[in-house]
Subunit: 187 residues, 5 copies
């Protein structure tokens, strides 16, 4: 079993941790998730470090929903800086998934964005852990988590597979889709 | 006895340290508080580190009231960055409680905010130390310390229990309330 | 003899180092000052670290007068970040005393501010070194170095004793005043 | 074989990694490239560190295309800070090649900029690895990667050789041009 | 022989490295300069660290000319932060000499500023290395490198000796001037 850490916050207004776990479980059956929750994004870095150093996690997802004010943006910046530091101290990837409260017009849209971005980054975590070569196949293709992919410059937008859409088909099918995607990217 | 560190400042205009100690004592009888006071928020990081490394504190509360000017915001940013660094150097949580001088309209409102935020974060410290699983039960529920909770997206605001309100009932009762809260969150 | 480090700059337009030494000598006779001067504030961090690690200083005062331009503010920010890092690397307090060129209207006022802030922070250094419990007595009382204290919220402004004013009375008397102050704060 | 690391992102909209590899191969036949791809620029620092510490890379190229929004600029800043930290932790150069989405008017121009900057910095990597003295010959000459060089102050603009232009002539010829360039700079 | 490191960039539009070496040679005959050149200011920190740790340099001069755009200011900030980190990791002074492209009206003025600031800071390096006590004699005197000194507050501007002017007289005479300067400051 590969151990994946997930840390989220009580500050967030969407259960990002649950979405991340659900997505990971869709793609792999040999992953054990260790989850922690902290008050806010500035508490994420040390929580991630503890998951890596004391719980043996090979990779961690750090989930947060910073508020819309300048002070919130600054908190997010401080958290991000800390998350990078932890990665360098532990030689371990932490995928930061932050959804800013001012990214969407309505609460409903914000919730959808939070779920989609979380799922698509959880898929990135799966790839980094088990199929890093597939990320290289997607290099320079303008991937966007939560929003429509922008695609490579000067070409039509390339819609990304995997992530939230894939989960509609359930675990096994999703993995089949992923395999095709790998093939497409290689082609 | 579990040791909890508390550091506050002479710059602050409210005795946040006293409020933090009072709140912690309400929730637990087996906690020993070690308190230090420094001139300003930029002096907090090393003071927290000393409490962790030389006084054996398992968790620390860092309390400050940054002023309203741009230079004060910068000081707070530098302090926050330092507090995150200390956490990573010591593998120990530090809960930062900053109340900005421009968050309230009047001195009276600011004092109330300082007390409420301090107490609610002291409660977070208690949870991190003794019941971290309860924080996971609150994941994504839009908790706000000092202000009314925002609640999860697309639902009615969920008023948070514990913190300042809980203290009105005294220690034992508060713990009972907390137990119910845990049950509610699980339900 | 307790060793206190003092670092100032050739960029500053006031001899802050001299004021700091004079103030420290007023309060204690068993302190040995080790002084260094560097070109600008960005040179302060490593100079402080050398005083701590190679000269055995138990605490350091870092003195600077950043200019009024945005680039000067950025330099001050970088210096402050470095000073916090040094504290965390050495587990030693460094009291930063920065006077910004745009804090006063006239050169004369700026010089007075530089002297007063330096002296009041030198007094903080003295307290941190020899009477840290007195700082806790002043927790949340709105102390301001160089300017009139703001005092606790919702009460009349509490004028701070010690610092520049105290020095008017000489060392022994100042200490007596300080003792009274401690008593008042306790009362 | 000297090992050179290359890390790029799936966020970028141009295959910068491919351009970097192609340019490096043009200049040297004894270089082995190790390539990794991560989701975004904030994932670059730890990926670079892993290439240095686990794959034995002597130098690394970090490639990214930050978006045009303030939040994207902040991400780039955080990534850059992390990349400098990695260099200091490993005593190894990492050449950061960031192309900002708002640097060009059209997608076509942006793609050209991305290719040219990547190639010219890949050439810098080649020089740092094998001919660092040639960089000193170019000291103070206003080199710009991706755009026309600005040249030294008060003289006509000096167009830089090597980089993208050189590759038009193929590997062997390019190296001849480079040798001439070295001679010119020495003359 | 004392070893002094000098790192400059190909991005700069003035040969700051040459000016620094020339100035240092004017003041001392027992200094050996080790010079490196990197592409831009963000490459300076690790190059300085390598000079200190692998080439035995006791002090380093980091030279750069950041461009006029916000992104250039950010690069300079990141570089400065890194340079401070290197100093703290190595307990060694690095004197940063940055000349911003928007500090002067014309190319000619910018070149003069670059030369003067470089020479005056090279003189600071000489003092830090061999006569640190002379810097203390200049504490609080408003020294400015490249521009006219501002002098202490409330007094006439004090023109600084040494640096570019001193070099007009050649090495021996310059040292004599410096000796007088020291005496003046002591007087």
């Amino acid at each position: 079993m590969r151990r994946v850490g997930i840390v989220d916050t009580t500050f967030a207004r969407f259960d990002m941790g649950k979405a991340a776990i659900d997505e990971l479980m869709t793609h792999a059956t040999d992953i054990k998730v260790v989850r922690r929750t902290v008050p806010g994004v500035k508490d994420l870095p040390v929580a991630c470090k503890l998951l890596i150093e004391r719980e043996g996690c090979e990779i961690v997802v750090a989930l947060g929903m910073p508020g819309p004010e300048p002070i919130d943006k600054m908190c997010a910046h401080e958290a991000s800086t800390g998350l990078i530091q932890v990665q360098l101290m532990t030689n371990t990837h932490i995928i930061e998934v932050f959804v800013h409260a001012d990214e969407a017009e309505s609460q409903e849209e914000l919730a959808k964005l939070a779920e989609k971005r979380t799922r698509e980054h959880a898929y990135n975590v799966y790839l980094l852990l088990k199929h890093p070569e597939r990320l290289t196949e997607m290099a320079g293709t303008g991937q966007r988590q939560g929003w429509k992919d922008e695609g490579p410059l000067g070409k039509r937008d390339v819609k990304r597979k995997g992530g939230q859409d894939a989960t509609k088909h359930g675990g096994a099918e999703a993995k089949a889709v992923t395999a095709v995607e790998g093939a497409v990217h290689r082609g």
